[in-house]
């Protein structure tokens, strides 16, 4: 089962795990990763935009790639857009598999690929001043480890 959602509202991790595993009796492990807006450096908010259509396609490609590498029984990826403040959850990756090792690996892979392939952009606000977050070489390096 694949669930991909782009939304402004927050998400309920427990409800997503329940939906991901509903009716499955072969799931032995669910790994979830939740990314939050990191505060500090006077950050007041983040505003996220994305490329509707391509975002969902790219995330689906990421899940397909994970399914080729590990026995993924289900995956849920939820990414928020719009204005978020420090502490807010921003992204959820949940992977169900038969065993924990595969679930951990697939979740890490999905997060690394999502960061370098899914077309989202973050604009930071510090009071009235705004700036676009720059892509990080370290994220590129992390994604390349899987090639």
């Amino acid at each position: 089962m694949r669930t991909i959602r782009i939304q402004t509202e927050t998400f309920d991790v427990s409800a997503e795990i329940a939906a991901l595993t509903k009716g499955a009796n072969n799931v032995g492990a669910v790994v979830t990763f939740t990314g939050h807006v990191r505060g500090g450096d006077n950050l007041t908010s983040l505003t996220l935009e994305h490329y509707p259509g391509m975002t969902e396609r790219e995330i689906a490609h990421c899940i397909e790639e994970a399914e080729k590498r590990w026995p993924v029984l289900g995956a849920t990826i939820i990414h928020r857009i719009g204005k978020l403040v420090p502490g807010d959850p921003i992204v959820l990756v949940a992977v169900a598999s038969t065993h924990r090792k595969d679930a951990f690996s697939a979740a890490e892979f999905l997060m690394d690929y999502l960061k370098t392939r899914a077309p989202f952009w973050k604009e930071e606000a510090r009071g009235a001043a705004t700036n676009w977050v720059e892509g990080r070489a370290s994220d590129e390096e992390r994604a390349k480890r899987w090639e």
């Binding site: 490329y51 990414h79 999502l114 370098t116 392939r117 952009w121």
Partner: protein
């Protein structure tokens, strides 16, 4: 051809979307970026340094050597920063 701009590319160009007729001499994403750079101040600013830009054709990531044709949806944007 539909052109889409995101993040600071959108802000510099001053619009998020437009429809153009592809000039006959433009055959690749890189040639399209060079042509757009000459369309005015905002475009010149947005497309001044192609190394800072990424592109997608019909919603697939591509390099600047990728072919483009009328009817394509081409997007220009900075490196992605989701997650």
């Amino acid at each position: 051809m539909t052109l889409l701009y995101f993040a600071w590319v959108r802000q510099k160009v001053g619009r998020s979307e437009e429809t153009i007729d592809l000039p006959a001499h433009v055959g690749t994403v890189g040639e399209l970026a060079a042509w757009l750079a000459q369309r005015g101040a905002g475009y010149g600013d947005a497309f001044a340094d192609p190394k800072r830009l990424r592109a997608a054709v019909n919603q697939d990531h591509v390099g600047f050597d990728a072919a483009v044709a009328n009817g394509d949806e081409v997007a220009f944007f900075p490196p992605v920063t989701g997650g």
